[in-house]
């Protein structure tokens, strides 16, 4: 007979199981081209296509009309943000402002969208496919299942952030860099944002999305609910585009720290709310 692992002390997490659940969810995601192809297209539009088209249009084709219009709009930025804009020419300053304050904050919605879409379908999807029954009868604890699914949702979002901003950096540095005296992106604030602020925001959003996806009855409903959860971060991204949020020197660090605290609290609450009943789809009846 095959030896089966002995049960662990109650309350202890088996990280091998967490990794197994996360890995399996990710493998299914990779197999599901209908899911990830639109997501890749979305990322390409926001990180590559739109920035490349507009910045090339301004810097290489000399679209004076667009430059003048955007230059006027820059006057609305906070003084601290305006002071940080590099470049001596109108084209250079306009391109820099677009790259740092407009395109990048808008693009940050993409990893969030991907993470929430994966997260929204993860538990409710198990129920819809009937595989929740398998997990509910498995020896994995609800905590292990929850964390596995959280990691499986978090990773695509963060990989999108890193790869997306990597490509974005390349494009803006190649197109705008010569106008402003060299490669400039990511700026110090954007390094903090990508490495320190985005991860807890993804985790926080996912903790809420996972709670929602465990409660709602269909993936579609979970995704709609996830859309509502995403709104606060979209607002933060637009605020950043004006330079107001990260104007203060250390604001990014504080916001990230606060987001981590709230995210960890949210994850704890989310894990506590998870149950086998929800995997079986009988929670709503209890």
């Amino acid at each position: 007979m095959t030896a089966v692992a002995a049960p662990r002390r109650r309350g202890r997490l088996d990280w091998d199981r967490v990794a197994t659940i996360a890995r399996t969810d990710l493998r299914q995601l990779v197999q599901n081209r209908d899911f990830w192809l639109p997501m890749v297209a979305l990322g390409a539009i926001f990180f590559v296509v739109i920035p490349a088209m507009l910045l090339v249009s301004i810097t290489k084709l000399g679209n004076i009309h667009a430059v003048n219009q955007i230059s006027q709009a820059l006057d609305a930025l906070p003084a601290r943000a305006k002071a940080q804009i590099l470049g001596t020419t109108s084209t250079g300053r306009t391109s820099y402002a677009l790259a740092v304050y407009l395109f990048a904050p808008v693009a940050i919605v993409v990893p969030l969208t991907i993470a929430t879409a994966v997260g929204a379908s993860t538990i409710v999807g198990e129920r819809e496919r009937g595989t929740g029954e398998f997990l509910a009868h498995s020896p994995a604890s609800v905590g292990e299942i929850y964390l596995g699914k959280l990691i499986a949702s978090l990773l695509p979002g963060y990989v999108t952030t890193v790869v997306g901003f990597g490509l974005y950096s390349l494009i803006v540095n190649v197109t705008v860099g010569p106008e402003v005296g060299g490669w400039f992106f990511p700026t110090r604030e954007w390094w903090i944002l990508i490495a320190w602020v985005v991860p807890p925001f993804l985790a926080l959003t996912l903790s809420l999305v996972l709670r929602l996806s465990a409660r709602v009855k269909s993936t579609a409903a979970a995704q709609q609910a996830a859309g509502l959860v995403s709104l606060p971060l979209i607002i933060i991204a637009y605020t950043q585009s004006t330079g107001a949020l990260f104007g203060a020197a250390n604001a990014g660090w504080y916001i990230g720290a606060g987001a981590w605290v709230i995210a960890l609290f949210g994850l704890r609450r989310g894990m506590a709310a998870m149950s086998r009943n929800r995997l079986l789809g009988v929670a709503d009846e209890s």
Binding site: V4, D16, Q31, F134, H137
Partner: protein, 358 residues
């Protein structure tokens, strides 16, 4: 491993207070005293599974209402009942996937709501839907299960399990392309991959063609023969007939009756029964007054059914019929099946059957 068999505790039980049904006072008259709680063993820890007076509610909806039964080691225990009888909920309670509202559940002597991981590590479950990951290959489904049950996926007996259920040729294919029968076979292979001590099967032949269904039942018998305890839910009486070492008849969340089918039918119909067909049905009336006949009744199809103190009296009854001028066309002993028992019990429960064999 040889199948371990012990003398089963014979149990006859009727629960008159079934939630959701009109309370019909029911008595089964048999040659053994009816026990108040025969579903529970004297020592609940002695059986692989023991449910004693288990209740579970989903809000206002009653899922289990006094469910009691035991499942012995190495035996096939069949939970029989219509849809909504509480069979699936019973399975979920056994693994600890659901914690019952009240009652006692013991699996391997443990309480699944407390020692869930220990219990689930020793259980293999096949749900009503195979619960497989369609986008993964058959092999990846098995590897996933192996890893969750603490096996090294690279060393787990994946090919052996798949071969046992005749699905090894399709391990490389995505499960989404499998037929229903293939999915069931893969789900069975997954359930036994970690060598469980208890197999819980929820309508495993649902949606299968007769050939695949028969093959799956054979495989289940083989598992039990290898010493694995099996609890199987079904509403198919014929399926249960040849499979059940123990049967539990359920309705509206309650277990109406539990025990070995042969023993249950013998207790329900304690005397020999023979059925006589005659060209002129009225002639059979002479049987009612013959010596050794304890009851006589005419069936809807015109045959006469008599209960006898001894089946050896049949020749003299035939002679009596012939002497009375009857042309006897057929005589057959009646061997009650689980199906007969099931409908008799449910008939009693609903009050549509009034006569109880004495």
């Amino acid at each position: 491993m040889r199948r371990r068999r012990s003398t089963p505790a014979r149990q006859v039980r009727v629960n008159p207070g079934v939630a959701g049904a009109d309370p019909v006072p029911v008595t089964i008259v048999c040659d053994a005293p009816t026990r108040p709680d025969p579903g529970g063993p004297a020592d609940p820890d002695a059986a692989t599974v023991a449910l004693v007076d288990v209740h579970h509610r989903f809000g206002q909806k009653v899922a289990l209402a006094g469910c009691s039964f035991t499942a012995r080691r190495g035996a096939i225990t069949v939970l029989l009942g219509p849809n909504g009888a509480g069979k699936t909920t019973a399975i979920r309670v056994i693994t600890g996937a659901l914690t019952p509202t009240s009652g006692q559940v013991r699996v391997f002597g443990l309480d699944p709501s407390i020692d869930g991981e220990s219990v689930r590590l020793r259980c293999g479950v096949v749900s009503a839907k195979p619960a497989l990951y369609d986008r993964l290959s058959g092999r990846d489904n098995l590897r996933y299960s192996a890893a969750l049950y603490g096996l090294d996926p690279d060393r787990a007996p994946i090919d052996e399990a798949a071969e046992r259920f005749g699905i090894q040729h399709a391990l490389g294919q995505q499960v989404g392309g499998y037929s229903t029968g293939m999915k069931t076979r893969l789900a069975l292979a997954r359930a036994v991959l970690h060598a469980p001590d208890l197999l819980l099967l929820d309508e495993p032949t649902s949606g299968l063609d007769p050939e695949s269904s028969a093959a799956v039942l054979t495989l289940i018998r083989e598992q039990a023969a290898a010493g694995i305890s099996v609890v199987l839910c079904t509403h198919l009486l014929l399926e249960a007939e040849g499979l059940a070492d123990e049967a539990v008849v359920m309705e509206n969340g309650a277990s109406l009756l539990a025990g070995a089918p042969a023993e249950l039918t013998r207790r329900y119909w304690p005397r020999a029964i023979a059925r006589f067909s005659t060209a002129e049905p009225d002639h059979a009336g002479v049987l009612a007054d013959r010596e050794g006949v304890t009851s006589y009744r005419r069936l809807a199809d015109g045959r006469a059914e008599v209960e006898l103190d001894d089946l050896g009296r049949v020749p003299e009854l035939v002679r009596a019929l012939v002497d009375a001028g009857a042309k006897v066309t057929a005589v057959e002993p009646f061997a009650p099946t689980l199906e007969d028992l099931y409908f008799a019990i449910r008939g009693l429960q609903r009050g549509t059957m009034t006569a109880v064999p004495a």
